[in-house]
Subunit: 153 residues, 2 copies
DNA sequence: TATTGTTATACTCTATAACTATA
DNA sequence: TATAGTTATAGAGTATAACAATA
């Protein structure tokens, strides 16, 4: 049989990195709203989760807290994210996307989506349906932080 | 309608980075045959293309020559790749995977495939079929170097 | 002149270890 | 003691710019 887990795993391992590289280099090539993929995802998360803590972001991204702290530093340095103290628990941090961050996020999102949609425009409806189905499945299997959350108590 | 290019593009942009992160962190966690994703792909390419030049690798990976040179340096430093002069054109370089590189490549491939297959084992046959179909489509659309090769004369 | 590759430099992403501050 | 976060340090990946060697 051809559709064992091993076969699909092999396909993933070959194709996903190639798609990823393409996305990265497209983002890099936009010379105004240039966001890296992790920065883009962080802004998107903060857009949907106002006042998230550093740990919230780390969990969502599947990163360690130091990596996340560093990542957020970069966004703050560029004025795209604001960091305030938490009113109650003073160990915590409240992260919010700034107006400037939001507009860059939207520009970048539009640009990248348009680019990807262009690439997919030559693909048949049928094949696009398979892509959407596949992404839905993969999302549940590889949800960010899934592995950690299973391990952590 | 729900399956426009835009919808599938949105899915890709959300899901692919998450899958990629998962693959990376799995590779990082194997503490003997630890290869990064680009190193892994480079070794795989050299396994299939004995004596490839630096430019060949760069094209395949969708990277600039300096980045590729650096990447290859790391593999040579670890004894996984050998660099010789080209017998005819002395500007060129012949890259080959070493025996040690091959055995690490195979171990890493087995480990990562097993990990991914495990993750996909809970997925229905139907959904795996969609994944395989999607990957086949994406491979043709995002083939490494495709963009450059179209642009370059 | 054009091609192949390297070196120099710099930034981002990521990790682990060690630390501070707060609970 | 446990939790939230930062700082220190380091390696990999990537880019652009400048260069050397060869064709």
């Amino acid at each position: 049989m051809s559709l064992t887990p091993e076969v699909s795993a092999r396909q993933l391992l070959e194709v996903v990195p190639a798609v990823m590289r393409d996305i990265r280099s497209q983002m890099r090539s936009r010379r105004s709203p240039d966001l890296t993929v992790p920065q883009f995802r962080t802004l998107g998360f903060l857009d949907r989760n106002e006042g998230a803590s550093l740990s919230d972001v780390a969990r969502h991204m599947g990163l360690t807290p130091p990596s996340t702290s560093h990542l957020v530093d970069g966004l703050i340095a560029r004025g795209l994210v604001a960091r305030e103290g938490h009113p109650v628990d003073r160990r915590r941090v409240r992260l919010t996307i700034t107006r400037s961050g939001l507009s860059i996020l939207e520009a970048s999102r539009r640009g990248t989506l348009a680019y990807l949609a262009g690439k997919l425009s030559g693909v048949s409806d049928d094949e696009r349906e398979a892509i959407v189905r596949a992404m839905e499945t993969l999302r549940t299997v590889f949800a960010a932080g899934a592995a950690r959350q299973t391990v952590v108590k």
